[in-house]
Symmetry: D2
Subunit: 138 residues, 4 copies
């Protein structure tokens, strides 16, 4: 099971080579992670925010174009004690065009330290656990 | 009648004051103008592209927040011989939060000159003509 | 006298037509307004921030390209009681390619109301007052 | 030896947590890679462009703030037959705040295939070869 979000490319997302520019992708993946952020912060309130982003990586497999919506598929690829890894793919025209991983840490901003992921959230996230064959979890 | 598009704010669209940053709005309006670009370029093909953007302006009326989708309403506020003015609003939580106008010109890139808007496209655009009371067309 | 800032276009700033995309410009103008924000907020501290942006407009006069730095020239075009209008131009290859105006309001976020611009800041801003002939101040 | 570029954060680069948003970083790194793009495309001409981006990754080590310029340091961390890996760091206030790697491929767009990096370009790139101790080249 995965979270799905449809994104409409903007004219300015396309670069001089006629494809979606690579720097656009982290924003699209961030937008689709709203669905995960919502699990941790149901009210999307910045003053209680409890996640930090430690790392991301993106592989560009095929070009993305202006003329069709893009589906972002968001999975959980690993749940640690206080961190989780999100695995995402961008699909257009029935092809997987990019894939990426993002490491998030459940974080107490007042104490400035990582804190365990609560059992209830963990249990929700587990519904979206999926291990694509080609993804090696470090 | 207006074109409507729903947009999901991204985490990074919010700035240090806790609201959608002003520089985000031209991108959202551009995204919603896809519906107009499609009238002029049904295949969204850059090599035949026939529109240039001459000017835009945005008024920020109320703050936009992270926690709700935003509806962009797109109207045609004026159709000239070769140019048109697009009027757009961003709505969130039943409030109109920003409004903006954009001037587009139907343009022949090979000849590098403005060209008249064809009757067929004009007739489609007229369906979306709307003159909000507070908008003064120059 | 004007504030000057040099900006290096990024690959992704260029759109499918081979020019700097129009949505890039408000960000470049915002970046150059740092020099004005500094007059109001010498320490750039968000918790005491005292400016809101009410409106901007941009006119696209000539295309901007990838292969050269762009100079942003920032003037003050009007100083009101609590608001000011910033006039900016983007120059590349000795040509003025875009011009824009932005209305900022000196604002008390706690009281949620506009407050007068202090005499000291006003006096600094006046050094950058300039009225380009073609700019009509409303 | 490394390429160095200074970048001024924009107001809107800062997100609701008061730090530079993670999605900003690929754009800053892209901007600093202009210095490498110039080695391959001295005239920055899109119609002859000869590089594609296959992958990037970014690690967020410390927060970046609004109130100071950021130095991007760009090294070459690996030169293959047709590809190269660029290693970059973002420094602010004498601290290394992010690091990232990007894989570029020298590419013939007409033939749609990777092509060897010419000896002359390779020799220039070698001047910027640096292997930070903590970077493991796969």
């Amino acid at each position: 099971m995965y979270f799905s979000m449809l994104i409409t490319p903007k004219f300015g997302d396309i670069d001089g080579l006629g494809h979606v520019n690579n720097t656009v992708m982290p924003g699209w993946f961030e937008q689709a992670r709203n669905l995960i952020y919502r699990c941790f912060n149901p009210e999307f309130n910045f003053s209680n925010w409890n996640l930090i982003l430690a790392r991301f990586e993106v592989d560009f497999l095929k070009q993305l174009y202006f003329n069709q919506d893009v589906e972002i598929r968001t999975y959980i690829s690993r749940i640690g004690n206080s961190s989780l890894e999100v695995y995402q793919e961008a699909w257009q025209n029935e092809q997987r065009c990019t894939k990426g991983k993002t490491v998030l840490v459940h974080f107490d901003f007042k104490e400035q330290k990582a804190i365990p992921i609560p059992a209830e959230i963990r249990s929700t996230l587990e519904n979206y656990l999926f291990q694509p064959l080609e993804v090696k979890v470090e």
